[in-house]
Subunit: 347 residues, 2 copies
Amino acid sequence: MIHNPTIIDIARELGISKSTVSRALAGHPGVKEETKKVILEKAASMRYRPNYMAKNLTKSRTKIIGVVVPEFVNSFFPRIIIQIQNLFESRGYHVLITQCDESWETERRNLKLLEDSMVEGILISVAVKGENTQYYRDLISRGIPLVFFNRTDNSVDTSSVTIDDYKWSFFAAEHLIYTRRKLGKEKPEIMHFMGPANIDLSNIRCRGYADAVAKHHLSSEAYLTVPVKDITREEGYRRMSLLIENGRIPDGLFCFNDHLALGAMKALREHGICVPGSVSVMGFSESQSALVSVPALSSVAQPLEEIGKTAAGLLLEKIENPDSPSKKVVLNAVLNIRGSSDPSKSM
Amino acid sequence: MIHNPTIIDIARELGISKSTVSRALAGHPGVKEETKKVILEKAASMRYRPNYMAKNLTKSRTKIIGVVVPEFVNSFFPRIIIQIQNLFESRGYHVLITQCDESWETERRNLKLLEDSMVEGILISVAVKGENTQYYRDLISRGIPLVFFNRTDNSVDTSSVTIDDYKWSFFAAEHLIYTRRKLGKEKPEIMHFMGPANIDLSNIRCRGYADAVAKHHLSSEAYLTVPVKDITREEGYRRMSLLIENGRIPDGLFCFNDHLALGAMKALREHGICVPGSVSVMGFSESQSALVSVPALSSVAQPLEEIGKTAAGLLLEKIENPDSPSKKVVLNAVLNIRGSSDPSKSM
DNA sequence: TTGAAAGCGCTAACAC
DNA sequence: GTGTTAGCGCTTTCAA
């Protein structure tokens, strides 16, 4: 094992006390310029590197924060995380990233892990609704501030950053209605691929869809809301294939996310059903693939950078001032209309 | 600030010494079952949590390893990282993830950060060729084992995991040649969108392409190798658009990665040029979008899970036995032929 | 302006 | 089996 030089080594070589070395290195006042200079030079020449464990132990601060996301294979969360890192690293913090594969058990393990690492705060996007609510509260009561982003747990009293998923789902569904009407169908059938029930957002987005349909007095037969078991392209493909086989082809389809929508489009294409000629399709949470597909996929784009920055800022606030009031920030989103829903946008 | 209970608090409440508490908690032998039970119960009831900083300080082990990747917005690296996390977390390690946005300066900052956090080892995929070579060596000489994956720096003597990028590029190019020949073009023009020169892989993949073209005595005019400035869809689109304007449409196009290929396909489509009818296109490092595009994109799929597991295993080996010999593991890949290159595979 | 000493929470000889 | 003691590397009173 290589022995790294310590302030004691520096002190010994210079024939002074370690306190002085510590002060000089920390940039504290009350050290003669002369001495300070010598110490700094010596430290550099010895390739001294402070031991953060020791530092943290005495200061009982770690300058580490943790991030917990449900997954990071899609670019969605990584893009947010990059902003979080930017802000915190510029403030001298380290960022510990964990992902839990949509499992609440793993999420809890990650939270434990982060607490063990003595993080000073945690940014979290909830995997499964409800399961860890008490644990979030425990963490906060043990003095570790928590801030939610994107997927929140509203029964916990702390800061959060979201978009208005209800509103944008409503708009998305309404857009499909208007588009189909413009194409001559006065009473279009709008279908919804609803996300898994254990994700809170599934219900919220579904409500937005349902209310839009209700507002326009359109059919809201039960079969029009299709609950899916996971939110992958494969599942979207499978569901739509089944519907086609059963002759249940809607005029418009609003999906919980882009992956489902892209899978559905693939099934429609394979059956020779034209998108958007016969069916208008919309996703949510604009993915990279939305622009690759043919036709390009209409979707609700979230302000990922802003979400990251805002969430990071809110956590920093909580860390620096534990008694600061909680804030629920709701950011704006954008409805990007493309060829998958609107024929006039097709290439 | 909340005061967390320490082993001293437990010892005081129980009227015993802190050493016994420490031993009991660590599961060391030589503690009476009776005592141990009482201590464990007390610890639980006091909601005791060990202080890892103190633990690490005394043991001078942190059980943290670091990961440095060039980016993690594409699913490529995240998928590898998940495997790394799985292995290390099952061994009681924590994994610190950093990304450097393809910048070698940020990469160096990340390495410093990790060293400061006293990681016991680092897994790295190199951003820019050469720039940090000396720094990698320094880290190793300071006792921090380094293992490369995917993008290596061969001038550093340590373990690595890669695929044979040369070979697979050669195969990819050859596949394009065979396909165009089958379509009746005896001397097809195969073009290559070559990655940025500062990424080592760019040159390797380009050599594979060039050698395949040479082997078949085909044209290798300079204009057929197009150096791109970044590896995004936008750049692929831009380059191909320019080529089309200048009437330089090849029979086959092999791209450094899928993004470039997808961008090029978009440009071709917009100009009414049929893929794969007129031009066969291939990407590399299969992305999620490869299956979304129409036609689906042919690409070289890398065994991401295996890369992650193998790299993690190699690092673990280095950590547990610093003198273990370095191993250069080369994994297999798969050439996935789809509709973008082979008309018989089109849907 | 500098040094001595105590202590952050924990582990690990070494005694008893 | 259990307690005592000496650190791990650093910061921070308190004196000088």
